[in-house]
Amino acid sequence: MGESGGRRTQLLRGVLDLCLLAVMGEGPAYGYEMTKRLGERGLSIVGEGSIYPLLGRLERDGLVDTHRAASNGGPPRKYYRLSGQGRRALAAGISEWETTRDAVDAVLGLATVEVSS
């Protein structure tokens, strides 16, 4: 993995749980369904950590509720949806992300870089 790939991994690591909470906010979803929702927004987890341990942690921390239900023509799946605590954590996380993003943009936006080949 190159330097840029390593940085992407580090950046994702801090916000992937927020992204999962966000896609769950669109409606209950099972594991692979969440992966697809992330992928539709350009966030592929190929080469990154799996979402399953994160889902396990979110469940353990009470940020999501789960139930089993039949999927479209497939076997019963475990669906995850935001709990009240999860909604509050998502709101707080989005606020933190925006503050951090704006501050980083303010710094990086001023940088002028010349790269010689």
């Binding site: 690591r13 594991g31 992928g39 987890i45 950590g49 799996s50 399953y52 341990p53 396990g56 942690r57």
Partner: protein, 188 residues
């Protein structure tokens, strides 16, 4: 059943994950992998880089859910035990060396009546002359027994002290975080 899922189940069993939780995780995983395959997606699209290490993936999932009952990594404890044994053995060797030096000095101080003489009487067969008296073995100008005794005594005590001095910081040294988390994704 998918080979990856089978490997995960073996790891969950090893970790003492309750059967109901293990079956649930396995069923979800298998269904997701099957759906991804039907979509033409790679397993890596479902599992991320966890696809390349089933055991680590399974352990991190079980730990994150709080359903693992045994530590996935006994190695650090084994390393600590080996370290302890090394220190204890080294300390014993130093003490034996110091004791040898002390016995030589004690034997020298009491003339030719050394411990070695006592040995001679207790043994049923003739003892080689070197055990009769250190004086006879280290014969020569100035008699080397006393210096040798001092050397052994001091070397043994210094070595023992050095081991005690080294032992305290080493015993309290914690293993690096990276060692304790080997195999687990760092986002946990």
């Amino acid at each position: 059943m998918n080979q990856f899922v089978k490997a995960c189940q073996r790891e969950w069993k090893r970790l003492g994950v309750p059967e109901s939780a293990a079956n649930e995780m396995a069923a979800d995983l298998e269904a997701d992998l099957a759906e991804a395959q039907a979509d033409g997606a790679s397993p890596e699209a479902v599992l991320g880089n966890g696809y390349f290490d089933a055991r680590s993936f399974a352990a991190s999932w079980a730990l994150a859910r709080g359903v693992a009952h045994v530590s996935p990594r006994p190695t650090p404890t084994v390393q600590l035990s080996a370290r302890t044994l090394t220190f204890v053995a080294s300390a014993l060797v130093c003490l034996v060396i110091a004791a040898g030096g002390f016995l030589l000095l004690a034997g020298h101080a009491s003339g030719s009546t050394s411990v070695a003489v006592a040995l001679r009487h207790s043994l049923p067969r003739p003892v080689p002359s070197m055990f009769v008296s250190p004086h006879r073995f280290f014969s020569g100008p100035g008699n080397g027994v006393e210096p040798l005794g001092w050397v052994l005594l001091i070397a043994g005590l210094v070595g023992f002290g050095l081991i005690l001095w080294l032992w305290k910081p080493w015993a309290t040294t914690k293993l690096p975080e990276s060692n304790r988390n080997i195999g687990l994704p760092s986002y946990l």
